[in-house]
């Protein structure tokens, strides 16, 4: 109960940091979708690019997040503002599930359906936008869902380089050896992850092709 009291006493700051957190996650996820979905489509259509693209995304995924933040710190324009840097790093991490699910979703569309569409004279873009993407959308969105949940967790580490977000409480709590402060960051972060998961799940059901 101490935690709740602490959160209530510091509610303006909790709210502020939650919004910062949301901003980091939201913006990076948006970038990751804008980059990842087209890349996924590209490698679904050109199987030769599949291995190198997925391998690169995989390698990025294996870099420890704290190290990646550190590596990027000296980069000129990025290093000036740590939130830019955090957004770039989070975007990179979110890429893999989005690229992979876009690829899997599109490759998973029934070959007979694609052949029929092509045979009846749909152009490649009509085929993509009217057939392949609508049929792959729920697989793609479940990739986005995974990406968001990962980002909410990773974004707490961005506080280590001063990018703000709920990680501030966690690091402060660790320094102060005070569980209340740690939980004041961890609980809202967990709730954010859950809400985002529910939200995308809802979107998935709305968009799901029959």
């Amino acid at each position: 109960m101490n935690v709740i009291r602490f959160i209530l006493q510091n509610h303006t700051q909790v709210l502020e940091l939650t919004l910062e957190h949301l901003w980091l996650v939201g913006l990076s996820t948006a970038f990751a979708v804008l980059i990842g979905v087209p890349l996924g489509i590209l490698i679904a259509q050109r199987p030769k690019l599949n291995k190198p693209v997925l391998a690169s995304a995989n390698i990025i995924q294996t870099i420890p997040s704290l190290a990646l933040f550190g590596f990027l710190l000296p980069v000129p324009w990025l290093g000036e503002r740590s939130d830019r840097l955090a957004i770039l790093a989070l975007t990179l991490y979110a890429l893999l599930p989005i690229i992979r699910n876009t690829y899997t979703g599109i490759r998973g569309v029934d070959a007979a359906v694609v052949e029929a569409g092509r045979g009846m004279g749909l152009t490649e873009s009509q085929l993509l936008f009217q057939v392949e993407l609508p049929l792959a959308v729920s697989v793609i969105l479940s990739g986005v869902r995974v990406a968001i949940v990962i980002s909410v967790g990773l974004a707490t580490i961005a506080a280590a380089i001063g990018a703000g977000g709920l990680g501030e409480f966690i690091f402060r709590g660790l320094a102060m050896v005070d569980d209340r402060v740690i939980l004041a960051g961890a609980i809202p972060a967990a709730i954010l992850a859950l809400l985002a998961d529910l939200g995308v799940g809802w979107l998935e059901r709305q968009l799901r092709a029959r």
Partner: protein
Amino acid sequence: MLVLLGRSGSGKTTTLKLVNRLVTPSSGEIRVNAESNAQVDVIRLRRRIGYVIQDVGLFPHFTVERNIGLVPKVEGWPADRIRDRVQELLHLVGLAPELAARYPQQLSGGQRQRVGVARALAADPEILLMDEPFGALDPLTRDELQREFLSLQQRLHKTVVFVTHDLREALRLGSRIALMEAGKLVTVLAPQEFLKSSDPWASAYVRAFENGDRAGNRGTS
């Protein structure tokens, strides 16, 4: 109606796909309506050729109406004309008008293939390519669809290229039967000539067919 007959892997489907350029020839030229099909725009070419495959390939996220009306729609027909055309086609292939609002997975196999035929006919193509369209259906439904397709063809007079490995179907539907073996065209014959042909591949086919028939009769008696 030309039937391409042959065993699996004999090149029937490839031949069919050469016509609408789903397969590109490594050499030579394919003429469609006396015009090399490599010269015309591939999208235009395909929209003038109806295409029906065994797996039907209906768009699962579209209703029957949108499935049938897709080519007219991308061709820019007005909505009311598409609606009328869909109703006309449903009637033509023997489906009830209220099926227009259904989704493919709510239909039986036979109904799906009827929708497949209706979709291929939507923009009134001169040529129809059919790749074992009735192959996955049960014998009764297949018989029904073959019969209806014959009477449909008597009204529509399309140029049809029909792929099958079933001699009975070939004899029933074809005005000419083109026998293929190992990627080569063996012979082209009228159904009656086919049964009497001295060509070794043709007679082998007829023999296998008769054997199958006898075995079938023994089974039922």
